[in-house]
Symmetry: C2
Subunit: 298 residues, 2 copies
């Protein structure tokens, strides 16, 4: 197997590696050795456990990695670049120290914004990939997730961005708060999701009250698990959309993420008259890493 | 020691018992055997471990208990009463089954509201106690806590109420979310609290964005732990006040709770032109249980 270079998406919880020929994936591997489980000396061995079969003795293979691997708690810090700027700058890649002579590892830096204070790490690569997949795109990219991001793109630059804790709030509230009592199980009700979105958008200041209402309805009128989960998701996404209005209003919107969550965001945006295009998160990160690699070698 | 009756405040995490003569406390005891740690058969033994020294062989001592002990997961269910109604109704006390002949245990039911769906259990006793401490009070009672309550009182009845998950959200976000990284330690900055309150009240729909800003400022401009904790508290209390506006606007407000959290709410309300009176939560629950006991015996 001829491996040209290796693309790595290394977040807090997962490590994904791709053996590449140009922009094509020829093999891939994944482990749960995310940044959160590793100390500084653990990164190179964790990577080698995945990619060793792709390496050739006597040859140096380039590795380009994005995500939390470049944070202060990661393998080596790749300092944030300040917006407005292009999402990727090949000249700003930071070399990670290695012992194994068969690899040369470079880390993609994240982006920061001074006012309002914000940071991203990993999403800049997805944004670059989206620009590579949709050349000339101007508008807004929404990246739903644990920490959802909205980024305003113009002339190939990230002009501004904003992070929302929507995914983490859903996880905490549904698994660790009093609401968990009515959320054990499966199921989903679109109507409850839609009502949650509409409710949060109409009266966003009442979110704190609406949340406990899910528990109270479970106790006194038997709200189903499916309706409770969908309403919680709708309320939180609706609140995010209320705050992100300056981003999506009158803009071309692309949602970058996994199918399920992107579909929920698209559904909610549609009620606001916004027809979003969808790009798969995995495609975006690979396209971003490939674009970076291509520019480094250009 | 002459013990007339025993007052019990039994929540999810703590059990507090008071040996009473009329409305006066002659002894007290506390344990961490809250409802959350007990199964149905565990309640009577847990209570006896605390109150046995106050019991007399051959005599039946009355016990009046409020809080989660009366929930479906408690000792015995005391079904919710529907508002509008007086916070306490001696005729609605529910007897708990006991094996020990020295005690007769009665549980105070909570309150429910059909629309918007809401429930309380324990706070109804604090509200009754507040009315007993402030006879003739008409207005609004705010009970900050894990699940803050706002109740509208008129002519001795709870007309409506609303629960907010403010305290639980603070605990989850400061201890279990990404924000915890900037919140390990002590300290408090009043100015950061005030700014959080003002921010949330001015733009409540932006709370989801403001929260991650705490983390981002910690990363890129070194926000202190004291400022981060106080700002998070201010944002969450400000969001609660934004939603509770119909409760406090133009009303006489009494805050019932522990000194620290009540002080924060009073400070925030003062910026809105509301001068709240403070009642200690412990005083309120004891006064409520004593008022109940007095009416049962009348």
């Amino acid at each position: 197997m001829m491996v040209d270079w290796i693309a790595v998406d290394w977040g807090t919880t997962n490590l994904r590696a791709f053996a590449m020929q140009g922009a094509a994936v020829v093999a891939q591997a994944m482990s749960d050795e995310g940044m959160g489980r590793l100390d500084r000396d653990g990164f190179e061995p964790a990577l080698l456990r995945l990619i060793a079969p792709w390496l050739t003795e006597g040859k140096v293979t380039d590795v380009v990695a994005c995500g939390m691997v470049g944070s202060r708690q990661g393998w080596h810090e790749a300092p944030y670049r300040a917006v407005p700027c292009a999402p990727l700058d090949p000249g700003s890649l930071v070399a990670a120290p290695t012992r194994d002579g068969r690899i040369r590892v470079r880390l993609v830096p994240g982006l920061k914004q001074a006012q309002p204070a914000d940071v991203m790490r990993g999403e800049e690569t997805q944004i670059a990939g989206t620009l590579s997949l949709l050349p000339g795109f101007d508008g807004v990219i929404c990246l739903p997730g644990t920490h959802s991001k909205w980024a305003h793109l113009s002339a190939g630059e990230v002009v501004s961005f904003q992070t929302f804790m929507t995914g983490e709030m859903f996880a905490l509230l549904s698994q660790a708060s009093v609401l968990r009592h009515g959320m054990q199980g499966e199921g989903w009700e679109d109507a409850a999701f839609d009502a949650g979105v509409a409710d949060a958008l109409a009266r966003p200041e009442r979110i704190g009250a609406k949340l406990f209402g899910i528990r109270a309805e479970g106790l006194i009128s038997g709200l189903s698990v499916a309706a409770a989960r969908a309403r919680l998701s709708g309320l939180l996404i609706g609140m995010e959309l209320a705050a992100a209005r300056p981003y999506w209003l009158g803009q071309a919107v692309v949602i970058v993420g996994s199918e399920g969550i992107s579909g929920s965001y698209a559904r909610a945006l549609k009620t606001l008259g916004v027809e979003a295009r969808l790009v798969t998160g995995g495609d975006a990160v690979l396209a971003g890493l490939a674009a970076t690699r291509a520019k480094v070698n250009a």
